[in-house]
């Protein structure tokens, strides 16, 4: 299950960003996971629940946004959203396509907690 090592690398980056901003904690993290990224959002959620145990991030909320696949067809030129698990043009059934979205695996935003005093220095 590579979701666990992905969760761990996300936590490492979040920790680095928290330290950089001298924040006291992280309220939430918004992630984007494409349907073609090879990462299962449910497995990732489960991985977080294991990986954050006894860390500063035990109460952090991990919001996983699924990014729907969109493909641009080289045959008919249209951009469509395939409904199946593999990239195919929904207009003409062509498989000669370029993937526009769906491969994302990104940290989008991080909601850090800061003490008010520190914030106004």
């Amino acid at each position: 299950m590579h979701e666990l090592s992905i969760a761990q690398s996300i936590i490492e980056r979040v920790e680095a960003i928290r330290a950089e901003h001298e924040a006291s904690g992280i309220a939430s993290v918004q992630l984007q996971v494409g349907t073609l990224s090879g990462v299962d959002p449910y497995a990732l959620e489960l991985a977080f629940s294991v990986a954050v145990e006894r860390t500063l991030y035990a109460d952090t909320r991990w919001d996983i946004e699924s990014v729907v696949a969109r493909v641009k067809c080289r045959t008919c030129g249209r951009t469509t959203a395939p409904d199946g698990p593999f990239p195919i043009c929904m207009n003409c059934d062509s498989t000669d396509i370029a993937i526009v979205t769906g491969r994302e695996l990104m940290i989008d935003t991080i909601e850090v907690k800061q003490d008010e005093e520190k914030n106004h220095v």
């Binding site: 590579h2 090592s5 904690g25 309220a27 498989t95 935003t109 909601e111 850090v112 005093e117 106004h120």
Partner: protein, 254 residues
């Protein structure tokens, strides 16, 4: 300037969700005790790829390999496709003709490395322990050890798993998917992430075809559905059928 706190940072937004004010009270020892009313939340826009670090290292590996005139292939399959056995036969056939090297990932034992040793190609093993895939750093760390002046092809034998290794770029020139005829012809449709990335698929254990209900034509169709123009080898490392085409291909690659 930020309207709410006047801190001059235009890139953040505030959330005022009072229900969260006391949620995190005791998990991270504040030196000043209970002043949580003063905590405020700031949203930072990060927009960063999770595997950015691995991708940087993979790019470094790719450059190194190109400078040393080595073509690297990343072999990915489910457990039990006969990947190591095919690699044994391949090294034997290429010995003295094309300089080869092998990096193999194994979750527990060093059996794979032993099986591949003594066939004219340096072999190094990465013990991945619980990890289900290889990462760019550990692969790149072995280049100097395993690659010699005459090395033209580096085989990276990934951990037996169809899903996880697909997400981690190692800096290889391309991925090769392996699929045994015992697995069923619908595998490419079930694991489109790998099969859409790999330009080459090897269908292995074709000597078993007479005993199985495997539809090779449907398999080829499924592969090309997921990946138009997919290059497909059908072979048996055991009987040697189809092996010549694969070896020819590698000789041209090297």
């Amino acid at each position: 300037m930020c309207d709410e706190c006047g801190c001059g940072d235009v890139d953040h937004t505030h959330t005022n969700d009072p229900s969260h004010d006391h949620d995190h009270g005791h998990s991270h020892g504040h030196s000043h005790g209970h002043s949580h009313d003063h905590d405020e939340k700031v949203v930072l826009s990060v927009r960063e790829k999770v595997l950015a670090r691995n991708e940087e290292l993979a790019a470094k590996n790719r450059l190194w390999l190109a400078e040393h005139n080595v073509t690297a292939v990343n072999l990915i399959s489910a457990p039990g496709t006969g990947k190591t056995f095919l690699l044994e036969r391949t090294l034997e056939r290429l010995q003295g003709r094309v300089g080869c090297a092998v990096i193999t990932g194994d979750q527990q034992t060093d059996n794979d490395a032993k099986r591949l040793a003594g066939k004219g190609a340096p072999v190094r093993q990465i013990e991945t322990q619980s990890a289900c895939h290889l990462e760019a750093q550990r692969v790149g760390d072995l280049f100097e050890e395993v690659i010699q002046d005459e090395t033209r092809i580096l085989f990276i034998e990934n951990v037996g798993n169809l899903v996880c290794p697909t997400a981690f770029d190692l800096g290889e020139n391309f991925k090769i998917a392996l699929l045994s005829v015992t697995e069923g012809e619908d595998k490419p449709l079930k694991y489109p992430a790998l099969f859409s990335l790999a330009p080459v698929t090897i269908v292995t254990k074709t000597d078993l075809l007479p005993h199985l209900d495997f539809d090779m034509e449907a398999c080829r169709e499924n592969l090309r559905k997921v990946h138009p123009g997919m290059f497909v080898f059908e072979l048996s490392a055991k009987s040697g059928d189809g092996l010549d085409g694969w070896i020819d291909y590698l000789e041209k690659l090297g």
